[in-house]
C-alpha cells in the first residue's frame, strides 16, 4: 500500500472530495463534495436519523464489540457503519446534536436513507481516491 494513496483515502473519508482535491482532480472533488453534502443536508432536512453507537462502560475489546449489538434493534449497527462513512461530519453532527431523527414525519425513512447512502457513497469515493493515489487509475 502506498502512503500517498492511504493519505488520500483518509482525507477523502474525512471530507468528501478532499482526497481527490489533493490529487488535483478538482472537478471530481467538487462534484463529490456537493453531491454528498447535498444528500446529507436533504436527509437532515427530512428528519433523518444519524445512528450513534452505544458503549456501556466496556472493559475489554470484546465487551466493546458485544455492546455494539445490545440494542432494541441490533440491525441499526449497519446504519451506524453507513453513517460513519460521512467522516468528520458524523462526529460534528453527533457533537452538535443533529440527526436525532423525527420519527413522526413521513419523510423520516427517506431522510435516514439519504444520510446512510451518502456515507456509503463516501466510502467508495475514499477508495477511489486511494486507487488514484496508488497509481491504479487516473
Amino acid at each position: 500500500m502506498k502512503i500517498k494513496g492511504i493519505v488520500a483515502m483518509f482525507l477523502g473519508w474525512a471530507v468528501p472530495g478532499l482526497g481527490h482535491a489533493v490529487q488535483k482532480k478538482y472537478v471530481r472533488a467538487l462534484i463529490f463534495f456537493v453531491s454528498i453534502f447535498a444528500m446529507i443536508g436533504l436527509g437532515l432536512a427530512m428528519g433523518g436519523k444519524i445512528y450513534p453507537v452505544y458503549l456501556e462502560k466496556p472493559r475489554t475489546l470484546l465487551e466493546v464489540f458485544i455492546n455494539l449489538f445490545k440494542k432494541e434493534n441490533p440491525l441499526t449497527i449497519l446504519a451506524f457503519f453507513a453513517d460513519l462513512g460521512n467522516g468528520l461530519f458524523y462526529g460534528l453532527a453527533r457533537a452538535i446534536g443533529w440527526g436525532a431523527g423525527q420519527l413522526e414525519r413521513a419523510t423520516f425513512e427517506f431522510g435516514t436513507a439519504y444520510i446512510a447512502g451518502a456515507g456509503l457513497l463516501n466510502f467508495l469515493v475514499a477508495l477511489d481516491a486511494y486507487d488514484i493515489g496508488a497509481g491504479k487509475k487516473s
Binding site: I36, F110, L121
Partner: protein, 60 residues
C-alpha cells in the same frame, strides 16, 4: 417540510447515486454519461416497477 413525495425523493436520490457512481466507475466522459443514465433509469424504473408490484398486495 420538503420532499413529501416519495417519488421525488427517490428520483433525487437516484440522481446523486448515479452521478457519483458514474464518476467513480467509468474512465471517460462519454462512458460516464452512458453509465450514469443507465443507472438512473434502472433505479427509477426498478423502483416504479417494484412499487406497482407491491400494489398487488394492498389490503382493501
Amino acid at each position: 417540510m420538503i420532499f413529501e413525495s416519495h417519488l421525488l425523493s427517490m428520483v433525487v436520490y437516484a440522481f446523486f447515486v448515479s452521478l457519483v457512481l458514474a464518476l467513480i466507475r467509468r474512465p471517460d466522459n462519454k462512458a460516464r454519461l452512458r453509465y450514469g443514465l443507465f443507472l438512473f433509469a434502472a433505479m427509477t424504473a426498478g423502483a416504479l416497477a417494484f412499487g406497482w408490484f407491491m400494489f398487488l398486495f394492498i389490503k382493501r
